[in-house]
Structures are given as C-alpha cells and as structure tokens.
C-alpha cells in the first residue's frame, strides 16, 4: 500500500511519541514575524533557553509595516516597538532577518518561497495560520500559536496530533476568467469552513498539474479557511524549476541529490486517503463572498442566499446575522453591489503573476470615481519585478495607489484600514467582521482580476464582462 506525501514527511520528521499520545515532530524550517514571536522570545528568556537551530529560523516583518511612509520611527509607536523588538531578538539569537532595508522583506509566505527556503518534503511552522501556503511546494506547513513558537525556538520540535489526509481532485479545464482563488473559494463553499478540521488537504488533479507555483500557493494559502491546518500539492518539475537557483536552494551536486529526495517524497500512485473529493473544473465560475465567513461564497451570477430557504435553523441564524452585518439584501444579485475600496495584495494574491494578470486587463481602464484602490506587492522582490515590467505604472495610470510590501489591508494592523462601514472588494483571504480594520467594515473576497473589475465599475462585477475575457 502506497503512502501519501504527508505520511512520508510526517514519518521522516517524527522524533518520538509523547506521553499524551501526540507526536513530537521535528520542524525543519521555522518562519517568524513581528506579531506572534515577541512573547515567545520572552518565554524563552524566562526559561533560560536558547534558539536551538538559529540557522533554520528565518524572520521578516510584514503585518505592521506601513505601506506608504516607511521611514523609522513609524508614526505608530506600538508598531515601531514591534519592529525594534524583532530586530533585537534576531540579533540576540543569531537569526537571519529580512529587514525593511534588505530588499528581501515581505509577507512571510511570499518571502519563504522566493528565497528558496520553502522546499518539498520538509516541515515548516510559522506563527500564522496561512502557513499552509508553503504546501504548494510539497512541504507540510502548519500555523502555530505563540507557545508553540517557543517550543520550536527552544527544541526545533513541537507536539502534534497526526491529522487524516483528504485528497481533493479538481479535474478538467477552468473557463476563461476563472482563477486559483475561485477554485479555493469553491472548495471552501463545498466542504465548509470547518470541513477540514482534523485533516490535511492534498490538492491534485489536472487543474493543479496545470497551475503555476503561484496559483498553487493561492489555493494552499486558504486551506485554513476551510478548517484544514495544512494543505499541499505534490512537487513536480514546475516545483523544481521554480526553486532552482534561488538563494537558499541547494546548489551543484546537492541540488541533484535534493531533487531525487523530493521526488521520492511525492505521494505514491497507490496512496490510500482517509477521504477523497472530486470536483469538476468546468463547474467553477468567478466567485465572491456575500457574508462574514469564507464559506459564504457564490458565483458572480448568483443571488445572495435567502435565510427563509436555509437548510437548518442554525444556518438561518447565521445567514441573517451575516446579511445584517454586510447590509446586503436576501435573494438579491451580488453583482452591482457598490464598493468603496479595492484591495489587491496579501499572502493569498500578492505575487508577480497576480499583478501581471490583473495589469493585462486593467490597462486602459480607470478606477471609478469615489473608489479608493490600493495595490500592495507581497514582497520587495515582487514590487521590484513588477516595477521592472512597468506594471506599477499600469496600476497608477488606472488610479490605483502603488504601495510598498506588507500584509496591509488584509488584516489592517498597519495604517491601511477601512473607515466606517466601507465595503471592500478584496483579494485577501478573510471576510470576518471587522477584519479590515474598521469594526463595521465589510469585505467581499474575490480574485485580483475581479477586484480590478469591481474597481473599474465601482460595483461588484463579472470581470469577464468588464474586460471581455
């Protein structure tokens, strides 16, 4: 009986079985950032411990960095204290830190892959729930809490219960204007926001075979929105081609040996899964959310659900609550909903291909009057590559603000926030109440091209119609 990649990577990193039955799992790569790590370093000091593998620990600053004015000290003294704390912790413990001045700073889940730190067959942990992004490379990557960050800093291991594995096949061809974001929103809608609890998701099928590495990252990124702590795609030639020559990728003979090892880690053809889900690519259309949970998704041509038609009392209450918050009408078309803000960026959709694809359609169009539109590259390298291609100018000409790299308005821990009950067409990953910085701000999740269409029309729109895709 064959083994899945998950099984192989887990076994290769299992140190021992703990007294409560959990596994002590070796974490090969530890990524840290300024928000969830300072308390962990504090705990480490309280216990008189050191960082066990500083050479396997990498830091960057992303959540709190302003994307307009980056001179230090930051205007926000709390944000300023956090970047200084991270810098001091990295210096004290000998941790590689991609700082603002390095040219390599960015969102931690963009930086790991572009540096070649993210590799197949490895385990990765980071104090951020979107760590599953790295699964696009066939890594087993988990979001962890601060006490677990302490555990990984101190021991390079953590206690974990082994999840089951669900294989999700998406086969066939995606239609024009249907993107990776639409695929993951569709998966989450089908399986639910808690459907993945207790599972690792293995994504496969022809759609994933054809996806670029960046598209795979978009899907893996939002695994947690479906409840799965970890999601991955088996490595293939695209994975190796992406990694070849990156700063932290193996070189020379070590490269050949590494690729051979990575190939051996991929799921066997006769792997047995705890569950299998099959999805037809042609069933997927451009998707948007209407509510306050990522599983509140509909296709752009569909209407907002009516609580009167809910399947259960629990669902009826949830729909009513979400619609009251979103100030949207039951049974109404979502298309045509006026927007105030358009945001393109985040660890979900803030990479070169996202800006390239969006610029292709945005060129020659203008953001509608009254809409504030911002484009935020996921890293300094993404920003640089976009600027080399002149993509920044396309966004600027259209009326977008072109910003510096960071998490920005995905969770609004920096100055980029919604005001009042503004409605934002957003390429980010969460439409929770208050997520984008205003306690009553509203979020509609969609692909970057759909955000551009909404920005141009000033309302939620079908990008295929707006841009003739």
């Amino acid at each position: 009986m064959g083994q899945s990649l998950f099984e192989k990577v887990w076994n290769a990193h299992a140190v021992k079985t703990l007294s409560n039955g959990q596994t002590q799992l070796l974490i090969g790569t530890h990524l840290i950032h300024e928000v969830t790590s300072p308390q962990a370093f504090g705990m480490l000091r309280d216990l008189g411990l050191k960082v066990k593998f500083p050479h396997r620990t990498f830091a960057t600053v992303d959540h709190i960095v302003p994307t307009d004015r980056q001179e230090e000290p930051f205007e926000d003294p709390l944000a300023d204290a956090m970047i200084r704390e991270l810098r001091a912790n990295c210096a004290e413990f000998g941790i590689t830190y991609f700082d603002l001045g390095s040219g390599h700073q960015g969102i931690v889940h963009v930086v790991g892959p572009e540096q070649g730190i993210t590799q197949p067959g490895t385990t990765i942990a980071c104090g951020d729930s979107h760590t599953a992004t790295h699964g696009a490379f066939g890594a087993i990557a988990f979001g962890i809490g601060t006490t677990q960050i302490r555990d990984v800093l101190a021991t390079q291991t953590m206690a974990m219960s082994k999840p089951k594995v669900r294989r999700i096949n998406v086969d066939g061809e995606l239609g024009p204007g249907v993107y990776a974001k639409d695929v993951i929103l569709h998966i989450i809608k089908l399986l639910g926001a808690k459907g993945g609890i207790g599972y690792a998701y293995e994504y496969g099928g022809t759609v994933f075979d054809n996806f670029s590495m960046e598209e795979r990252m978009t899907v893996c990124n939002m695994s947690i929105e479906g409840g799965a702590r970890c999601g991955y795609v088996n490595p293939d030639d695209k994975t190796y081609a992406y990694l070849n020559g990156r700063p932290y990728s193996p070189k020379g003979d070590a490269w050949d040996a590494a690729v051979a090892g990575w190939k051996a880690m991929a799921s066997d053809a006769d792997s047995v899964y705890d569950d299998v889900v099959n999805i037809e690519a042609s069933d997927i259309a451009p998707s948007v959310t209407w509510g306050t949970s990522p599983d509140h998704g509909i296709f752009i041509g569909e209407s907002i659900p009516d609580p009167a038609q809910a399947a259960s009392e629990e669902q009826r209450v949830a729909i009513e609550d979400a619609l009251a918050y979103m100030k949207l009408g039951a049974g109404q078309p979502i298309k045509g909903t006026p927007i105030d803000v358009a945001f393109i960026g985040s660890c979900t959709n803030g990479r070169l291909s996202d800006f390239r694809e969006t610029a292709k359609y945005l060129k020659g169009h203008k953001v509608a009057a009254g809409v504030k539109a911002i484009a935020v590259p996921g890293s300094q390298i993404v920003a640089h590559l976009c600027e080399q291609e002149g993509l920044d100018q396309v966004f600027r000409d259209a009326g977008f603000e072109w910003r510096a790299a960071g998490c920005s308005m995905c969770l609004a821990m920096n100055p980029d926030k919604l005001i009042g009950d503004q409605l934002c067409a957003s390429s980010s990953n969460r439409n929770f109440k208050g997520r984008q910085g205003s306690p009553v701000g509203r979020t509609i999740l969609m692909s970057p091209v759909m955000v551009a269409a909404a920005a141009v029309r000033g309302e939620v729109s079908d990008a295929r119609e707006v841009f003739g895709i």
Partner: protein, 203 residues
C-alpha cells in the same frame, strides 16, 4: 515541569451564542500591537461588546448577571481563523478557564490546551439546556469533569467530548509540553542528522 493537574474546572458560565466565532471577533487585530500578552483581557470580544463610538452593545460579557463567569458556552467552529494565541490569552486574562462548544477550530484548540484551558465539545441541545439553566440562575455552579467526561450542574449533566491527547495532557499536569520536548534532545539530534536540509551548511 510540575504543573497543576487539571481534572475538573468549576465556576459559573455565560453563553456567547453564534457559529464560526473567529479569532478576529475574540481579539481584533488592532489590539495585537503589543510585545507581551498583558492587558489583553480587557479587549476580549471588543467589537462585539462596543459600538464604534464606544457605546456598550449589551453583550453577555457586560451583563452584570454574568460577571465573574469562568466557563464560556458557544456554538460551532469556535475560534476559527488566525493562529493568534492572543485569542486564548485574552479569554484567559478575562477570567475564562474552560470553553464548552459544539466544535472548535484546530489551532485555537491547541493554543488553549498549552495554556491549560480545556476546550470540550457537547451537543447543541445539551449546551442549550445548560445555557437555559445559566440564564435562569447565573449563579449556577458548573463543573467540567475531564475524568468523568461530563459537565454537570445542580439541575443536570451531559457528556463532553475531548481528544484523548488533550485530556491526558491536562489531567496529568503535562499540558505545557516544553519539558517533555526538551528531554528528547538526543533523539532530536539523531532525527535531524537524517535530514540533509537541516545541516548548518545546507544554505
């Protein structure tokens, strides 16, 4: 590391109704601009408790009848979203010592476990029964008994669910795993030596 054995948790309760109560609800991101967890308790459920102008919304946590409650009751998928430990830390610092819900998001569940805060599951109708008892008499003393696998109060009881690993860790006083993880140092070195990418020269 000698920790308290958490076998029972007793106290009064409060219901925060709803499904998919996410970590941004529990502690909005703007309150995470801190380098310690001190003081997070006061921001627990902030945006559900206060309107943007600061007016209290009449949230159950601010109802004087439930002041001092240490057991939180809720619905499905409690704690979904972010990995921020700020969420369980805020609950703990506000005074909660256990959560009973229909189900929990995984990272939140694990974060609570390492703080010694049991998250136990129960059926919707059982939680509703307990919530009704609490509503009728907020002084109702609830006991969550991890060994007997039940929650009980003077008027009733119901079975609770909990993964065995979490139950074992709490009841044996090993809910903070750091001691046991550190003990394995030789095994960690052995395992690391089998993985070429961990060699200090790999990069």
């Amino acid at each position: 590391m000698a920790l308290e054995k958490i076998i029972t948790v007793s106290g009064t309760g409060v219901l925060v109704p709803g499904s998919d109560i996410d970590t941004d609800r529990i502690i909005p991101a703007r309150f995470m601009k801190c380098v310690t967890f001190d003081g997070l308790g006061e921001y627990l459920f902030h945006d559900a408790r206060f309107d943007p102008d600061g007016t209290p919304t009449g949230h159950p946590l601010d109802n004087p009848r439930f002041t001092g409650a240490s057991i939180l009751l809720s619905g499905v998928n409690f704690g979904c979203g972010s990995s921020r430990e700020h969420a369980p830390q805020a609950l703990y610092r506000f005074g909660f010592r256990a959560v009973i819900a229909q189900s929990f998001a995984e990272i939140f569940f694990g974060n609570c476990a390492t703080l010694g805060v049991p998250c136990v599951t129960a059926r919707a109708e059982d939680i509703a029964r307990l919530a009704a008892a609490v509503e009728a008499d907020p002084a109702t003393e609830i006991t969550i008994d991890l060994e007997a696998r039940e929650a009980r109060w003077p008027g009733g009881s119901f079975a609770i669910g909990q993964p065995e690993s979490a139950r074992e860790a709490l009841t044996s006083g090993r809910w903070d795993p750091i001691g046991e993880l550190l003990e394995a140092s030789p095994l960690i070195a052995e395992r690391a030596a089998t993985l070429p990418y961990l060699a200090p020269t790999a990069a």
